[in-house]
């Protein structure tokens, strides 16, 4: 195996961890409420802009920007739940799709109006530089995003499986009427789920901003990957999103390197479709 291929695989794993990081919020909402949130990519975008504003106003990096982005987005998540999701959940599937799609455009063009169409960027090397380990190059910013991805995945998984809050949330997801009879308020649980999902997404955005460009339409570029990751990993499965993210990252990088960059998406989607053919519920989803 050539040295370059090792670098490609390591890079693919780091990329995949980032994919997993910004998909975990989507899998929570999609899996628990059966809501396809088309505004998910734009939540990532908002997290990036929060990090940018925090840096340009206070001059501090993701240490402050990331928690703040998580907080801002969590608040937005609750607002979105009560103002929009709660109502469209009663409507037909089409209304849900168009509702979150409308939200995506609203967020995108509000940012467009306020910040303009320009490409913004955080300074290079805001998070350390690049580590050189026997010639293997690892960016500190991507490594940080990767580690946080693992922690967020672990945290969400523990929350859902080991805490009473998690059990209540899952109970609502399973059967909200029955949960209500047991004294669980579905509204509160789902609002909390939205806060957690949007918060994790905002956190992801702030970390991605340390090595990616920032522009109002960036959600379009990133959003589609999140949908593929979640359906490959299995709806509602947080560990599934992590494994799927890593898989996609590595497949993309290796095929881009060996076959050519224009073909890498073809390879990813062929693998994706073949996989769903045999296992439509995804890697770790329930059948």
């Amino acid at each position: 195996m050539s040295f370059f291929l090792v670098q490609v695989i390591v890079g693919g794993l780091l990329l995949g961890a980032v994919y997993a990081l910004f998909s975990s919020g989507l899998t929570l909402v999609w899996g628990m409420m059966n809501i396809v949130n088309f505004a998910h990519g734009d939540f990532v975008m908002l997290g990036m802009y929060v990090a940018f504003v925090v840096f340009s106003v206070f001059g501090v990096g993701p240490a402050a920007g990331a928690p703040l982005a998580a907080l801002v987005l969590a608040t937005l998540g609750v607002i979105v739940y009560f103002a929009l999701i709660r109502h469209i959940m009663k409507g037909p599937m089409l209304a849900q799709i168009l509702g979150t799609f409308g939200l995506a455009l609203l967020l995108r063009y509000s940012v467009f109006w306020w910040f303009g169409a320009n490409f913004l960027s955080l300074p290079n090397n805001l998070v350390g530089g690049t580590y050189d380990i026997f010639g293997l190059r690892i960016e500190a910013s991507r490594l940080l995003a990767g580690i946080v991805a693992l922690l967020v995945t672990l945290g969400l998984h523990l929350l859902l499986t080991r805490t009473s809050l998690g059990s209540k949330m899952l109970a609502v997801a399973e059967d909200s009427t029955a949960a209500q009879l047991m004294g669980i308020r579905p509204d509160t649980m789902q609002a909390i789920a939205w806060a957690i999902a949007a918060g994790a997404t905002g956190l992801a955005g702030a970390l991605i901003a340390t090595f990616f460009y920032i522009v109002p339409t960036v959600g379009e570029t990133l959003g589609i990957v999140a949908f593929v990751t979640v359906s490959l990993g299995g709806f509602g499965s947080v560990p599934g999103a992590l494994v799927a993210g890593l898989m996609i990252g590595v497949i993309e990088s290796v095929s881009g390197y060996l076959i050519g960059a224009v073909y890498k998406d073809i390879v990813v989607y062929v693998v994706f479709l073949l996989f769903l053919w045999f296992r439509p519920q995804g890697l770790m989803g329930k059948a």
Partner: protein, 417 residues
């Protein structure tokens, strides 16, 4: 009651008087239509053009003796039409060929413009100029580079900008010159996206380089708006081409610059084909880690006090951003059109068309580095040309080639960060 009536009458009289004088003054206004992206993805271009064309009308409509012999600057208004003022009517193409076409129709039939300039995106220039052709209205394009625009046998279409094949020649001559100065150019890699722009420019460069005996060793194509370009950069790092030629829009150009730094990869020469590398956003985001990048441009501000430097100052005051190659080419297109109307001494379309055909502007009559403006039978400016600029300090491009127009000598190898 009576008093009210009288007041009303007086008011009406005043208004009609005002209207009458308005109409009188309007006889001396020459209306030019322009179709530009004022909204949508390329909206920032439209904002820049608005400021730039305001500067042009200021120069033409008011006396600017400081610009010396620059055409149309000395007197207020168009001397050939008894000092008539120029008014630009803006229309938004919304980034859509169909909208561009409708707006052109509106400009011609409702606003009664005497000539049109536009429309930035080649695909929209294609549709909107077809309407002007149908109505027999002169259309001058200053910035669209798709080759087919001047291959349609149109009689009312004129283009002042150099096109892809011109730049391919510039690149090959520049690289050959760099070799003479000790640079290595034995293997060249083309890196381009899969859009109309990326593929057509890459094809033109490939065929031109082949003719000139330059060796393209590697062709790295990628899907535009990539989420990651690490594998492409590693391909380059492994194959070690002497020259990397980048044909990329802003988003991908930024990502490439960041990834090259992360992978500690620098080619000997990095040469870019305008687009992303000319975007002020690119320079702000990653200019400091792209030091020494070469780029093509027809624009350079020239020595202080020269007309082009003065015009660049006026533009910066108006828009808040530095003049770039695209805006300068667009302004040049408008200047050429207004010069033709001035010489025609008339707003009759046929006379303007004849004057455009007779255009023969010299380099010192232009604000841009063309060898002049002279149209062939197809309406293409045969004297259009460009040079090479270099991002030496990571903040501002300076002209480095050809030597005659150079502000500084080109620096080799590519420095990066």
């Amino acid at each position: 009651m009576k008093l009210k009536n009288i007041l009303g009458l007086a008011g009406a009289a005043a208004i009609s008087l005002g209207l009458a004088t308005g109409a009188f003054a309007e006889d001396k206004v020459v209306k030019i239509g322009t179709v530009m992206p004022m909204s949508g993805g390329a909206a920032s271009i439209g904002t820049h053009v608005k400021a730039a064309f305001d500067v042009v009308t200021d120069i033409v409509n008011n006396a600017h003796p400081e610009l010396g012999n620059f055409p149309l600057a000395k007197h207020a208004g168009l001397a050939g039409l008894g000092g008539a003022k120029v008014e630009i009517v803006f229309a938004d193409n919304q980034g859509s060929p169909a909208t561009g076409q409708n707006q052109t129709l509106r400009l011609i039939t409702e606003d009664k413009v005497v000539a049109i300039t536009g429309a930035y995106q080649s695909g929209i220039t294609l549709t909107s100029s077809a309407i002007a052709e149908k109505y027999g209205i002169p259309y001058v394009n200053g910035e669209s580079v798709a080759a087919n625009l001047t291959e349609r046998g149109f009689k009312w279409f004129f283009r002042t900008t150099p096109i892809a094949s011109d730049f391919a020649k510039v690149f090959s001559e520049f690289l050959t010159d760099m070799k003479a100065q000790g640079g290595k150019i034995d293997s060249i890699a083309l890196v381009h996206d899969n859009t109309e722009y990326g593929t057509s420019v890459a094809n033109t460069i490939t065929s031109t380089f082949k003719e000139k005996g330059l060796n393209i060793a590697l062709d790295v194509a990628y899907a535009s708006n990539a989420t990651d370009v690490q594998s492409q950069v590693l391909q380059l790092k492994e194959k070690k081409p002497d020259v990397v030629l980048m044909i990329s829009y802003t988003s991908d150009a930024i990502l490439f610059a960041k990834t090259m730094q992360a992978q500690d990869y620098k080619p000997g020469i990095l040469l870019a084909d305008d687009a992303g590398y000319s975007d002020p956003d690119f320079i702000k985001a990653v200019g400091k880690i792209s030091q020494g990048a070469f780029n093509r441009s027809s624009w350079s501000s020239g020595p202080a006090g020269s007309p082009s430097a003065l015009i660049a100052d006026m533009y910066k005051k108006k828009s808040g951003v530095e003049m770039d190659d695209t805006v300068a080419r667009q302004m040049t297109g408008l200047f050429v059109l207004l010069d033709a109307i001035d010489r025609a001494g008339s707003t009759e379309p046929a006379k303007i068309q004849a004057a455009l055909k007779a255009t023969d502007l010299k380099p010192d009559q232009l604000m841009i580095g063309y060898k002049g403006v002279k149209f062939d039978d197809k309406g293409q400016n045969i004297l259009a040309s460009g040079g090479i600029i270099q991002l030496q300090d990571g903040e501002n491009y300076v002209a480095v080639w050809p030597k005659a127009n150079a502000e500084k000598a080109p620096l080799l190898p590519y420095k990066g960060w």
